[in-house]
């Protein structure tokens, strides 16, 4: 546990839950060490496979419950890609769906007590965020050539304002991957840290009921946040992809 009552005082270690450590042996964490991060990432993969492959294995016209959920997720993201990005972006749907399923399952698995939350780590979300950023930028230049730079040249604004707007647009463009990844990591990390702090107060008998009530409430909030952050990450990916495919304002 992150907190322990020592000599009547409270000691909070809300960040201990984010420590990466090897699961086999006590050695240093190398690149290929099988750590708790690896375990929970692979569990997320297993959950995605369980839902999307095993859940749909019957290919029933009248779906079972699991197949219904899988189809719901499929339809939800497919419609989002179609509505936000456009019909021509449907071929990028598998990538976007991969991102969504990974984040949503990581977030939900992280809510299991004593689990590890990969999406609270900036290293993980930065790979996701910058991955989207680089992919979208390369795609923009490949699809539109130099016309992609039109994204920064606001042709509907007065001519005198355009250079200033171009600078602002450029800055905001490069801030995108940072905000994209920190938003997800920050939300998940903050929620889990708050849960630990509330759990620490449970060591005092007098406030324990209040603390447990607080944990319950925050836990419910975190379930919501886990889904909403996955949704936000996905829809922002769609928005950035739309900018790359149709850079004109």
């Amino acid at each position: 546990m992150a907190t322990e009552a020592e000599g009547g005082g409270l000691v909070f270690h809300p960040m201990d839950q984010f420590i990466v450590k090897p699961l086999f042996g006590d050695g240093a964490v190398g690149m290929f060490t099988f750590t708790n991060v690896a375990l929970w990432l692979l569990l997320a993969v297993a959950c995605v496979i369980a839902l999307m492959v095993l859940g749909t294995s019957k290919r029933a016209t009248i779906p079972t419950r699991t197949q219904s959920v899988a189809e719901l997720a499929y339809g939800f993201i497919y419609k989002m890609v179609e509505d936000v990005t456009g019909k021509d972006a449907v071929k990028y749907f598998p990538y976007i769906f991969t991102l969504f399923m990974f984040i949503v399952f990581s977030n939900f698995l992280a809510l299991i007590p004593t689990s590890f939350s990969p999406t609270s780590h900036i290293a993980i979300t930065a790979v996701l965020g910058f991955g989207v950023f680089i992919a979208v930028t390369v795609l923009g230049f490949v699809k539109n050539g130099a016309g992609f730079l039109g994204l920064f040249w606001v042709s509907s604004a007065p001519l005198a304002l355009r250079p200033i707007l171009a600078v602002i647009e450029l800055i905001s463009y490069f801030v995108r991957p940072v905000s994209h990844s920190i938003r997800l990591a920050g939300n998940i990390m903050a929620g889990h840290a708050v849960l630990k702090v509330f759990a620490g107060f449970a060591a005092i008998t007098a406030v324990a009921p209040l603390s447990i009530l607080g944990i319950t409430a925050i836990y419910a909030l975190e379930v919501l946040v886990g889904f909403i952050q996955a949704y936000v990450f996905t829809i922002l990916t769609c928005v950035y992809l739309k900018d790359a495919l149709h850079p004109s304002h």
Binding site: M1, A2, H13, M15, D16, Q17, F18, I19, V20, K21, P22, D26, G27, A28, V29, G30, M31, F32, T33, T35, V37, A38, L41, L42, A44, V45, V48, I49, M52, V53, T56, R59, A60, T61, P63, Q67, A70, E71, Y74, G75, F93, P94, Y95, F97, T98, M101, F102, T114, P118, S120, H121, I122, A123, I124, V127, L128, A185, M189
Partner: protein
């Protein structure tokens, strides 16, 4: 988290096993996280794009097809029901018209027969009336004749009774003159 007691895991973990600063910013762990993340993402991507997504797309398309077919069949059946109803209504209307026609025909026939009978009866009545008229006029003529004869006889007898010489020819002339007057 179980407390790490060795303290050898990383520079980011203190000797008591608790985190030093934010574990998220520990550069020692990042290669490991990124490596496993990429493995997880690639695994999810291949499983989804090779197996799950085509399967779900097929299932959804099949379901859509089934629904469309069923709706078309329902529409077809509905159309047939409407047609059957129309045929029934038409048959009913035809039968009604036929009945009307037969009734009209019968009525016309009866009217014609009736007219004929009335005409015949009228003719008979007219003939009878004419016959009666003739009989009455005969009777009247004979009555006038009888009255004349009686008057002449009576006049002759009266003249004779008064004592005069009754001249039949003069009496007859006088009676005729009187009857004309």
């Amino acid at each position: 988290m179980a407390t790490e007691t060795t303290g050898t895991a990383s520079a980011c973990v203190g000797p008591d096993g608790s985190a030093i600063g934010m574990p998220q910013l520990c550069a020692d762990w990042m290669p490991n996280q990124i490596f496993w993340l990429l493995i997880a993402l690639v695994a999810i991507y291949f499983v989804l794009s090779r197996i799950a997504l085509p399967r779900i797309a097929t299932v959804l398309a099949e379901r859509q097809g089934t629904i469309t077919n069923d709706l078309a069949a329902a529409e077809d059946l509905k159309q047939r029901a409407v047609e059957a109803e129309e045929a029934y209504n038409k048959a009913l209307a035809d039968a009604r018209a036929e009945a009307q026609k037969i009734i009209a025909q019968n009525k016309a026939d009866m009217q014609a027969e009736l007219d004929k009978a009335i005409a015949k009866a009228d003719a008979e009545i007219a003939a009878k009336a004419a016959e009666s008229e003739k009989a009455i006029s005969d009777i009247r003529a004979s009555a006038v004749e009888s009255v004349e004869a009686v008057a002449k006889d009576t006049a002759g007898a009266i003249v004779a009774a008064v004592g005069g010489q009754a001249d039949d020819t003069a009496v007859a002339a006088a009676v005729d003159a009187q009857m004309k007057g």
